[in-house]
């Protein structure tokens, strides 16, 4: 907020020596703000930028014993090996399908839930529901998958019985490739939809109440108020989150997928993250898995810029 105010007061930064002088003056004037920024900067420098030095091993045949400097330089060999791997198309499709489910179903559900919560009049009810839907977020994936295994245990699990009756099947849903994606989606929705509403509820709290009063006087119903006031007001927030989500599209999350996968559903369950685990940790192919990780990061970066550009084109605010 403060930077925005400062920008309002100051004319745009000039080029040349004047700019330097102004910077120095700003550094003194806003020294406490700079001091506040310091821990954040140190964090990023130490834990985000410094480790990138180690990403060099993607271009080397890294052997721990020889060290990073002593290992042989191989250029893009690991990237080539990955892109020409026969598993690559399958990994890409599986990753994109799970990402699409998350983006097209789980993400909108978060907005819907936030809108529903926002319409609750009774404060105590609203608070209780909010707290309840936050809880699953704090359970680890191991716990969520264990609960799923109990609920969907073949012949005995209550949800297995329910769905088996509904669809007239006797498949082992935990192992069936057709059930993998629905189960994973259900878990995602159950675990994180509630938590995801926080940021939208914050945005909703910022909507000017007078607009609603004016709309009520004009005779707008509840649905019309949601459609013409609430949604347009939180649209920038939605756009920003969408852009950030898109950047994460190749990060399906390792734990959930790894724990849910088994011999019978691996055709649909193998994603980049589990692949990196198999290649890197199980087989000790550090260079190769770093190359895969780097590839994912670059795709993520491209997607963030792409969505941002699109958002701007459609007359929305981007994030930068």
């Amino acid at each position: 907020m403060t930077t925005a105010l400062a920008a309002d007061r100051e004319p745009p930064l000039a080029r040349g020596p004047g700019r330097l002088r102004r910077l120095r003056r700003d550094a003194v004037r806003y020294r406490w703000l700079f001091l506040l920024m310091l821990p954040g900067l140190v964090y990023f420098a130490l834990f985000r930028f410094w480790p990138m030095y180690g990403a060099r091993i993607a271009f080397k045949n890294y052997i721990p014993f020889l060290g990073i400097d002593g290992s042989e330089w191989v250029g893009f060999a690991h990237f080539q090996a990955f892109l020409s791997n026969p598993d690559f198309p399958r990994l890409l499709v599986n990753t994109l399908v799970i990402a699409a489910l998350s983006l097209l179903i789980a993400f909108p559900l978060t907005i819907v839930l936030a809108l529903l919560l926002n319409e609750l009049r009774l404060q105590i009810l609203k608070r209780t529901v909010q707290t309840l839907v936050y809880i699953p977020h704090f359970l680890s994936w191991t716990v969520v998958v264990s609960i799923t295994a109990l609920l969907f245990a073949i012949d005995t699990g209550p949800l297995w019985t329910f769905f088996a009756g509904l669809f007239g099947t006797d498949a082992n849903m935990l192992a069936d490739p057709d059930w993998f994606r629905p189960l994973v989606l259900m878990q995602m929705v159950w675990k994180d939809t509630g938590w995801g509403t926080i940021i939208f509820l914050a945005a909703l709290a910022g909507v000017d109440q007078e607009q609603y009063e004016a709309a009520i006087i004009d005779g707008a119903g509840r649905w019309q108020r949601v459609r013409h006031i609430t949604i347009p007001s939180i649209l920038p927030t939605i756009t920003v989150l969408l852009i950030l989500h898109t950047g994460q599209i190749l990060n399906t999350g390792f734990e959930q997928i790894y724990l849910m996968s088994n011999s019978l559903n691996r055709t649909v369950a193998d994603v980049f993250d589990t692949y990196v685990y198999f290649a890197g940790i199980e087989q000790g192919a550090y260079s190769y898995s770093t190359a895969v990780g780097l590839f994912k990061a670059i795709v993520g970066l491209v997607l963030i810029f792409g969505t941002n550009w699109l958002a701007k084109r459609f007359n929305q605010q981007g994030i930068f």
């Binding site: 700079f34 721990p64 011999s263």
Partner: protein, 506 residues
């Protein structure tokens, strides 16, 4: 602004310190004063430096033992961190021939012990089982003293009371097993008039050649153990006709419902439960599970606990009699060159390891301190229940240093009852019987570069295809397609490399 400028400088300073430390190995040709060992532990807490076992072993070894205990679950990643750092111990427990170990060994990071162990200067380090030492080696080079394990562990465990109810004999062949599994499913073995039982209990199991029930059945059918020699060439077991035959047998068991429905997803940690609860009646697993199950029945039914568990050795297949052995070792103790720099120091280390394999040391590592936490009655170790925590720490930590390559002569543990004693004796008898038919992996000692880099994925292709075939998800054509994928993903290279090594070393 000034503050911001300083950050990167400070970072660079820290970074160069770290780098400097890495390259600073230190040259030291002096005799070793202590023996630094890195080892995994399973106990709740690792032993302290003033541990009585540590003292007693140090006296035996003639060097002060200083063990860096690492929780077993973190051991793999810790190994790599230690190898990349500058504080490398004198002796490291290496848990497997994974990529980073093999690369390090081939880059000269570990002493080649082949000649030293063969010299006979260290009698307690001369293996009584050359096949196992060969399996633990890397293409003919022995980089460590292996930690010996039982060679025969696989067995068939059945509900004896169910066999008795149905008047069935213990199975001797795979065909018998099929019939027993059918009867346990269809003939109401518990006599409650309800159709609530099945035959074989099978948990989810990934990978191939790691002692799964599938591996056992395939070996009994004569597929070989991971690799098989055919006309002077080594072929993967899963390309043999016997393998396919075994898979069809397994598929029939599953299709008829003689196996638990959740065989592809069942948590192996709950393996005992259906057996105890009377849902399933057959487990194909290690012999020690029979002892474990008998113990659990003892809690349920102390009067008749000796009537529930039948332990049967490995079964005859339609093509002959074959038994599945383990690899016979669980990793090895290797000597990094960074810690032990001269040959004199190496000899010091080997002398100490030799002393750590005496019967006295074996008793210390596996039982603890005689007269303190255990006493010897009739030549058998009896533990003091009041010092159980200490005993658990000894068996969960010190026992991990045990190599026992020249034989294990520590006191046997006294069994509680006659039944326990008889069961233990039966295990030993079955081991001796099955060892005569054991099918060893002829390629165990070969490390193929392709397998090292992509073996886990290659194995997963086969392991998944196996389960998919058994589940009826894919047919013969689908299985063939999976084999083709395996071949094109590097399998053909592995076959070529293994056969080159086989030709070179024979």
């Amino acid at each position: 602004m000034l503050k911001r400028k300083r950050i990167p400088v400070a970072l660079l300073a820290v970074g160069s310190l770290a780098l400097g430390a890495c390259s600073d190995g230190g040259d030291n040709a002096e005799p070793l004063e202590s023996l630094d060992i890195m080892a995994p532990f399973f106990s709740a807490v690792p032993p302290e430096e003033d541990d009585p076992v540590d003292k007693a072993l140090s006296d035996l070894a003639g060097l002060d033992l200083s063990v860096q205990w690492v929780p077993n679950t973190d051991y793999g990643s810790k190994t790599n961190t230690v190898l990349a750092g500058d504080d490398i111990p004198d002796v490291m427990v290496i848990q497997g021939k994974d990529q980073s170990f093999v690369q390090t060994a081939e880059a000269g990071g570990f002493w080649d012990l082949t000649e030293y162990l063969a010299s006979g200067d260290y009698p307690n380090l001369v293996t009584e089982n050359p096949q196992v030492q060969e399996a633990a080696s890397v293409n003919g080079k022995v980089y460590g003293v292996y930690r010996a394990r039982d060679v025969i562990r696989t067995s068939v465990i059945l509900r004896q009371d169910w066999l008795d109810n149905l008047g069935l004999a213990q199975p001797q062949t795979t065909a018998d097993l099929y019939e027993v599994a059918r009867a346990f499913t269809e003939d109401d073995p518990d006599g409650d008039g309800e159709d609530d039982t099945y035959g074989i209990i099978n948990p989810a199991w990934g990978g191939i050649g790691n002692g799964s029930p599938y591996d056992a059945i395939e070996t009994w059918y004569g597929s070989g153990n991971l690799w098989r020699e055919e006309g002077g060439e080594l072929v993967p077991a899963f390309t043999t006709d016997e393998w396919l035959q075994a898979l069809q047998y397994e598929r029939d068991l599953v299709a008829n419902g003689y196996v638990n429905a959740d065989y592809a997803t069942m948590d192996p940690a709950t393996w005992n439960e259906p057996f105890l609860n009377g849902e399933g009646g057959i487990i194909i697993d290690v012999q020690s599970r029979a002892t474990q199950l008998a113990g659990l029945f003892k809690e349920q039914d102390p009067e008749h606990y000796d009537q529930y568990v039948a332990l049967v050795g490995q079964l005859d297949g339609p093509n002959g009699t074959y038994a599945l052995p383990t690899s016979g070792y669980s990793g090895f103790l290797a000597v990094p060159r960074a810690g032990v720099q001269t040959e004199d120091q190496l000899k010091q280390v080997l002398t100490a390891l030799n002393e750590l394999n005496t019967t006295e040391a074996q008793n210390l590592m596996n039982h603890g301190i005689e007269g303190d936490n255990y006493t010897v009655v009739d030549g058998e170790a009896v533990f003091d229940p009041a010092k159980q925590d200490f005993t658990d720490q000894v068996t969960g930590a010190w026992a991990q240093l045990g190599m026992n390559v020249a034989g294990y002569n520590a006191y046997p543990i006294q069994e509680e009852t006659e039944y326990d004693k008889a069961l233990y004796q039966q295990r030993l008898d079955l081991q001796a019987e099955d060892l005569a038919n054991a099918v060893f992996n002829p390629a165990a000692g070969f490390v193929s570069p392709t397998y090292t880099t992509s073996g886990a994925q290659l194995d997963t292709i086969i392991a998944d295809a196996r389960i998919q075939y058994i589940a009826g998800q894919i047919d013969d054509a689908g299985l063939q397609a999976a084999l083709d994928t395996w071949r094109s993903s590097g399998g053909d290279d592995v076959v070529q490399e293994i056969n080159d090594l086989y030709a070179d070393l024979n």
